[in-house]
Symmetry: C2
Subunit: 123 residues, 2 copies
Amino acid sequence: MNDGVDRERGDSFMPRFDDKGLLTAIAIDSQTREVLMVAFMDAEALQRSRETGRAHFHSRSRGKLWLKGETSGHFLNIEEMRVDCDQDALVMLVRPDGPACHTGARSCFYRRVAGDRLERVEA
Amino acid sequence: MNDGVDRERGDSFMPRFDDKGLLTAIAIDSQTREVLMVAFMDAEALQRSRETGRAHFHSRSRGKLWLKGETSGHFLNIEEMRVDCDQDALVMLVRPDGPACHTGARSCFYRRVAGDRLERVEA
């Protein structure tokens, strides 16, 4: 079996973690289609996300499993999960229970690059 | 100066590359808001993207700069670039010149996870 071909064309879920055991996970608001946040999942975070329907990540800075909303109550409820061609990235369509960003913004992507400065984006 | 606070609250573009010199870059169709692809940029790829208005990435497998569309002609023309709270991820709103995925799909995220299988998503 050619794993590469099967990963791209097949119907088997074969997530591909990088050399640190991580893949990229993007949370999109299922209603507005806004990108809310991006983070990383290891196998445990992926498994917990699938089991519970709530987005879990692997915190690279803290080196541990992280249930998004654990502290704030702002969980990301997963409605659909998509995988990209080589299965090293996921898009989650989510229903957020509150602001996705720890700053209180609805999305972490609240600034646009304008030359060498950043401008606030009003969503 | 507290770099962390300034990165989150300030108006200075201070991209934060990880220990491999990379940040995550997500390409969104500016018209449909569909997630087209996700890849990584190093400082050179970011600089070239900003200079040319076309998305460049760093290929982790090939270990080199990669102009998306170099071979296919399917460039991603950047209309806006957004950065997240801690500035380690970018969202690019792009106008794609053709399918973003090397498989010919408009988006790399053409399959949804359904149990342990994948289902084709028709966009």
